[in-house]
């Protein structure tokens, strides 16, 4: 490895390590009732892989690469869009105020 590569790697590795610590610090405070939405929310965040998929799609030179990147883009977008929408659906239910819920129920009955 050249000195420039070592430097690049260490920069990336520093970011990686600090992000892991950040994840531990943020997550450990979440109450149990929100664990499922949290898991789903975290699941959406790794949809950021779409950014990488877009790069390989633009840089693809042969049909095989083009096919792989098409699948990657489709997969990653499904992860992002589906993940955020389903998490929002879960959280929408949590947010409903008791008073509003009562009213809706009386309307039904």
């Amino acid at each position: 490895m050249s000195p420039a590569e070592v430097s690049d790697f260490l920069t990336n590795f520093t970011i990686f390590t600090l992000a892991i610590l950040c994840g531990f610090a943020v997550i450990s405070k979440v109450p149990a009732t929100l664990h499922t939405p949290l898991m789903s929310g975290a699941n959406s965040i790794h949809g950021i892989v779409l950014v990488g998929s877009m790069f390989i799609a633009i840089e693809a030179t042969d049909p095989l690469s083009q096919l792989l990147s098409l699948i990657a883009v489709a997969f990653a977008t499904m992860n992002v869009v589906g993940g955020y929408v389903v998490t929002d659906r879960m959280l929408q239910m949590f947010r409903r105020k008791p008073a509003a819920a009562m009213k809706a129920d009386q309307g039904e009955g």
Binding site: A19, N43, V49, I58, T61, I71, V80, F94
Partner: protein, 479 residues
């Protein structure tokens, strides 16, 4: 054409904005009040990062040779349309009871995308379209990305299949079991070392890919359906790590940050879920638990008399009680009886009965799942009580109505020597009288008898949760 010297810093700042939004978004998911806002913030950060990337790719001078920009853009637009359409449709139409398997499916495709980036990168190194030899960073990260991404892809698909019922939920033992799993792991490690010491072998890459895909299957098949939430959470963490590795391959900081963030969060969540079931993550991954073959450490419950109670008797008990605690479990989730239980609770409240819900941390299919289901049925949030808050109240409860919950109510957990020993339970047996609604005397995941059922205070009401609750509601109305 705008200079790359301006574009590059701009897109990096946009990625930083995205990364900050992810962290703050997760932090805001701490409390129910700010959680939704946090998720929207996270989604906004994602949109900024993706749009900025698209603009960057559109405006930057094309430095690669031999690529066709038009085809590249067609791939991106078509891919986003297909993936976005499928994801949106699935997320909006899924029933809340089927949500865990959908999350697992989204996790699978995320891991698949990360693995594809590494496979594509490796193919390019091999075909020579990348001139410079890859550094150690790309090489190690590429192999790790292929391995982790592939395992999480097939593993999550199997987990999702088990929850959907397409694949039997009970543990499936692979012939040769752990020997096969160990052998597969060994092949991956040897193959990875072979590549890391500087060989660029396409054949070795494909062996690693194939073995990792198989490993994901053999790892998940022997694990019982009840443990799937823990497995999905673990695989979620894996996907985060795979995405971070893809970030190393592409030298992209936002992939590294977001991936590491999810890797860490998934690991913590996995441990919390396992703790709530008094299991270690290792114990779960070894599998076989919940097959019903495990030796029950309970004596005395076997053959003891069970008292059955009729719908009308149960209705009278409930209607003339002052305090009722409802204990919903997996059976309620499966029967989708959340609306039925809310109707019964409202009817009781209109008669002046005080009704509360006792939510065990692992009730339903995932931690917090029961809250989601009951919230969907418009159960007022303040009525939902966490285990530690409700346990002291059981003593004052006239009736505890257990609906499709089993192991989380088993008093055997308080004594050593039982498979559920040490697991935190709801103190249902402290209530003055207990009604257990259950389809049969079938055992829970732990595969042991529940001493609660033979308690003299307990009346068993054998019914499907939805039908049973409807019958109870009708009986209370008729009083």
């Amino acid at each position: 054409m705008i200079s790359i010297n301006i574009l590059e810093p701009l897109v990096r700042i946009a990625w930083l904005v995205g990364a900050v939004a992810f962290v703050i978004g997760l932090a805001r998911m701490n409390s129910p009040a700010t959680a939704r806002n946090g998720n929207l913030l996270s989604a906004g950060g994602m949109a900024v990062a993706i749009v900025a990337t698209a603009i960057f790719l559109l405006l930057r001078p094309n430095t690669s040779t031999g690529n066709n920009l038009l085809i590249g853009w067609v791939i991106i637009v078509v891919g986003i349309a297909i993936g976005g359409g499928l994801g949106l449709y699935a997320a909006r139409t899924v029933k809340m009871t089927a949500m865990p398997q959908l999350v697992s499916l989204f996790n699978a495709v995320g891991g698949g995308a990360a693995a594809l980036i590494a496979i594509d990168g490796y193919l390019r190194i091999n075909s020579g379209s990348v001139v410079a030899a890859p550094g150690l960073q790309e090489n190690v990260a590429t192999v790790l990305d292929i391995v982790i991404g592939s395992i999480t892809f097939t593993g999550s698909l199997i987990a999702s299949g088990k929850l959907m019922g397409r694949i039997p939920g009970k543990p499936i033992m692979v012939p040769g079991g752990q020997l096969v799993t160990g052998g597969l792991a060994l092949v991956v490690v040897v193959g990875a070392l072979f590549l890391w010491i500087g060989n660029y072998s396409l054949a070795a890459m494909f062996v690693i890919l194939a073995v990792s895909l198989i490993f994901g299957v053999t790892m998940t098949l022997p694990i019982g359906g009840a443990d799937m939430p823990v497995v999905i959470s673990l695989l979620n963490s894996f996907t985060g790590t795979a995405v971070a590795m893809a970030g190393f391959v592409l030298q992209n900081p936002v992939l590294i940050i977001a991936g590491a963030l999810v890797g860490a969060s998934g690991a913590i969540l996995t441990k919390l879920m396992a703790d709530a079931m008094n299991r270690s993550v290792l114990n779960i991954m070894v599998g076989g638990f919940g097959s019903g073959d495990s030796v029950a450490g309970v004596v005395g419950a076997e053959g003891a008399a069970v008292r059955e109670v009729g719908v009308d008797d149960a209705a009278i008990q409930l209607a003339y009680a002052q305090h009722v605690i409802v204990v919903p479990g997996y059976g309620l989730a499966v029967a989708q009886a959340q609306h039925a239980v809310r109707e019964l609770a409202e009817l009781l409240e209109s008669r002046g009965v005080d009704v509360k819900y006792a939510i065990h941390p692992v009730a339903g299919r995932m931690p917090g799942h029961m809250n989601v289901l009951l919230a969907e049925a418009n159960v007022p949030y303040p009525q939902l009580k966490e285990m530690d808050d409700i346990n002291p109240e059981f003593e004052r409860a006239d009736v505890a109505l257990v609906i499709g919950a089993n192991d989380v109510t088993n008093p055997a957990a308080r004594r050593p020597g039982s498979p559920v020993s040490g697991m935190p339970i709801l103190d249902v047996d402290h209530a003055r009288s207990i009604i257990v609604m259950k389809r049969s005397m079938g055992k829970g995941y732990a595969g042991i008898d529940n001493e609660l059922y033979t308690n003299p205070k307990t009346g068993m009401l054998f019914a499907d949760a939805k039908d049973g609750l409807a019958a109870l509601t009708a009986a209370v109305k008729a009083l």
